[in-house]
């Protein structure tokens, strides 16, 4: 009998979503969808607000990576106050923002790997959900759990020192920053009591990479084949092709590694990227205009960044990048579970970058803000933990925002996440009359690999998790499972 499986809510992701999987009479998956079921409307209610309020207001989209929204909006506002972006800021202004951003990437990736993803690796996808969670990790793998907590803490302390608060700070202002580091703050990160110093963070980042590599070598088939599909990849890269998570030009490569977006200035992103609305989700579907709605989709995030960047400009992360690229013979890597690997390389890169910035004398400088001729439109892009984040604003003569468009990292991964769900649903559920909790968790594992922030993506209210429904041919619900 045909059926529809619903997974609602999806757990251990940020935001609220559900999955529906339609199966036919012979228990074959015929359609699967990741639905994002909430709506928030930030782009609308920010209209009328003064432009300088945007970096502080829009970061309320998210409690996990508010810094990304804070900085993307601030970068757009740099354009509006005539400071330009990237090298338009004072050295102290730009380096403080970078330090804030790398602190953010570090803590967000640590949160995802240790708190959200590690239970699936440590206990197995089909393990008892009562132990397959962060409490289970804390009980059975205490060292790893402590590292996860302390790495997050370090990143959050860096954010506090740069933004003023761990969550929803005010550090970045149009044209620069409102503070620099004091020598005491700088020294606390460089020479802090173990484990809260940057050298320990680098050591633990390398340890986390070793953990993943060991898991990979023991579960090669699963890690390599789980939700593995070819795709294009998009991210910012530095002008010389290096990975740069704060600023750069837009690059996209296809599944073969050929450049399909050639390091373009992101101020005109809308000439290259379109957004499609589909009736069953509040999350839009972005695509490269040149390749159309069907073929123009792409992936963003750690995996994409490994594939687009020519190299990583810090030594330890570069070594890992070389190993990563060699694994697919230099071709783009399309394995969804390798997102975890890529994320850990970025954790290492962020820790190295923080160390470099902390040793830079500009970080305690006092030239904080640049201004120039006022503009009426600004675009700010940043590589957020989950991928490329777009903020676009227009203001009126009275300094009020009259247009805002946000393409959030997770939104860029909408099509890939749907494909990952479909791939895993087919692999795990085809031919099975009875759907187990473990099979449904496999679907969640696929989504989780992308570390989606569903709240950000729809700019939405509500609880986080996701549900799975099984429907028959006529759309009647036959089974429904909700994770808690």
């Amino acid at each position: 009998m045909p059926k529809k499986i619903t997974i609602e809510p999806v757990t251990r992701v940020e935001g609220h979503g559900k999955v529906t999987i339609h199966m036919d009479d012979s228990n074959q998956v015929v359609q699967s969808r990741l639905h994002i079921v909430e709506f928030r409307g930030f782009e609308r209610f920010i209209q009328g607000r003064p432009y300088w309020e945007a970096p502080v207001l829009v970061q309320r989209l998210c409690g996990i990576c508010p810094v990304s929204h804070h900085l993307a909006a601030a970068k757009a506002m740099d354009e509006i106050v005539g400071a330009g972006t990237g090298d338009g800021l004072t050295p102290t202004g730009e380096k403080m923002r970078r330090l804030m951003h790398y602190g953010q990437i570090f803590q967000s990736h640590a949160l995802h790997f240790f708190h959200l993803a590690s239970p699936d690796m440590l206990f197995g996808i089909e393990a008892d959900p009562n132990i397959r969670n962060i409490i289970g990790v804390a009980l059975e793998h205490q060292d790893l759990a402590v590292q996860g907590v302390m790495m997050r803490k370090f990143g959050q302390e860096v954010i506090q020192a740069t933004a003023g608060k761990k969550i929803h700070g005010t550090g970045a202002i149009p044209g620069g920053m409102n503070k620099s580091l004091t020598p005491e703050e700088r020294d606390s990160f460089l020479l802090g009591k173990d484990p809260l110093n940057v050298d320990k963070m680098i050591e633990w980042s390398l340890g986390a990479l070793d953990f993943f590599k060991s898991y990979h070598s023991q579960n090669r088939e699963l890690v390599d084949n789980f939700a593995n599909f070819p795709s294009s990849h998009l991210s910012l890269v530095r002008k010389d092709g290096a990975m740069d998570l704060y600023h750069g030009v837009l690059r996209a490569v296809d599944a073969e590694g050929k450049k399909i977006l050639h390091d373009v200035d992101y101020q005109k992103y809308y000439e290259y990227i379109g957004e499609e609305v589909r009736s069953w989700s509040y999350m839009k579907f972005p695509f490269l205009k040149e390749y159309g709605k069907e073929k123009g989709w792409y992936r963003v995030g750690p995996l994409a960044r490994m594939n687009t960047a020519d190299f990583i400009p810090t030594p330890l992360a570069q070594k890992e990048h070389e190993i990563f690229r060699a694994y697919t013979n230099g071709k783009p890597n399309g394995m969804s579970m390798h997102m975890h690997w890529a994320r850990l390389i970025e954790i290492l890169h962020s820790a190295e970058m923080m160390k470099e910035l902390l040793y830079d004398p500009d970080i305690t400088g006092d030239q904080l803000v640049t201004k120039g001729n006022k503009q009426y439109e600004g675009v700010g892009l940043i590589e957020a933990p989950r991928g490329t984040l777009f903020h676009h604003y227009r203001i009126n003569e009275d300094d009020q925002i009259d247009m805002a468009n946000l393409i959030v990292s997770t939104t860029n991964n909408n099509t890939p996440m749907n494909l990952a769900v479909e791939s895993v649903a087919k692999d795990y559920m085809n031919g099975h009359a009875v759907i187990s909790e473990g099979m449904m968790n496999a679907v969640e594992v696929a989504i989780r690999a992308y570390d989606p922030c569903l709240s950000c993506a729809t700019h939405a209210l509500g609880k986080m998790p996701l549900e799975i429904k099984i429907l028959d041919k006529s759309g009647n619900i036959l089974d429904k499972k909700r994770s808690s």
Binding site: W52, V56, R60, D398, D399
Partner: protein, 236 residues
């Protein structure tokens, strides 16, 4: 002539001089009476009622009532504290105050009072009144969502001829503070700064100033409002 006066606050013997208002006399004696519309050096208006106390069993505003011999003043009784909380809660529900994105956050007296009174949520329903934003002035951003009609700006911000830049318009529920468009056009930077400084909330902002004060350096980040008015060592 300023005569010495004797009075009590919550049964404590106090002294001051007859040229003071109750709120000032209390401060001299180390007693903090919360205020919002009151502004040092400016004739009091008594418009917010946050400073309400009981004098010889009658409710009066401490900022407008001169101190007098023999007054028996109640300040920190349960009913008066609840009354003041209610006034602050009403202000929050009548306007549209969104502290998380307000640049006055940390420097806002309404927010500081809410922290002082430990108000977690107002007991009254939010009104969601539709207020408008006047951003037409090149120097001032005037957000009526946050205005508490305290009249500080009307009383303090004046041109060199002594004419108020701000004034009330309309009446009753439609009442609002607006500024004289002609005077507004020639508003100096100093007057614009003054207007922002006297506004106890984030209703009057100097354009482009934004979040220049880092968190941790703002007025109320480390010091509660009562300890700013009366530093710890003087408090009884």
């Amino acid at each position: 002539m300023n005569n010495k006066v004797n009075f009590t606050i919550d049964d404590k013997e106090c002294t001051s001089t007859s040229d003071k208002y109750i709120v000032e006399a209390a401060r001299e004696n180390g007693v903090y009476i919360p205020t919002l519309c009151n502004y040092d050096g400016v004739k009091p208006a008594g418009s917010c009622r946050v400073c309400t106390v009981k004098v010889n069993k009658r409710y009066l505003t401490a900022c407008t009532t001169p101190i007098a011999e023999g007054m028996e003043i109640e300040v920190n009784t349960t009913d008066l504290q609840d009354f003041r909380n209610a006034v602050v809660e009403l202000l929050f529900t009548e306007g549209n105050h969104f502290c998380p994105a307000c640049e006055k956050s940390g420097n806002c007296e309404l927010q500081a009072l809410a922290y002082k009174f430990q108000i977690m949520a107002p007991r009254f329903p939010f009104q969601f009144n539709e207020r408008y934003i006047d951003a037409s002035n090149p120097k001032i951003y005037h957000d009526h969502n946050r205005c508490i009609l305290c009249k500080r700006c009307i009383r303090v911000v004046k041109d060199d001829k002594g004419k108020s830049v701000f004034a009330f318009e309309n009446r009753a529920r439609q009442i609002r503070i607006n500024f004289d468009s002609k005077l507004g056009e020639v508003l100096t930077d100093e007057l614009a700064e003054k207007a922002m400084e006297v506004c106890p909330v984030g209703s009057i902002l100097v354009k482009g100033k934004g979040f220049k004060d880092p968190i941790g350096t703002r007025k109320f980040d480390h010091t509660p409002i009562d300890k700013i008015v009366i530093p710890e060592k003087q408090n009884i």
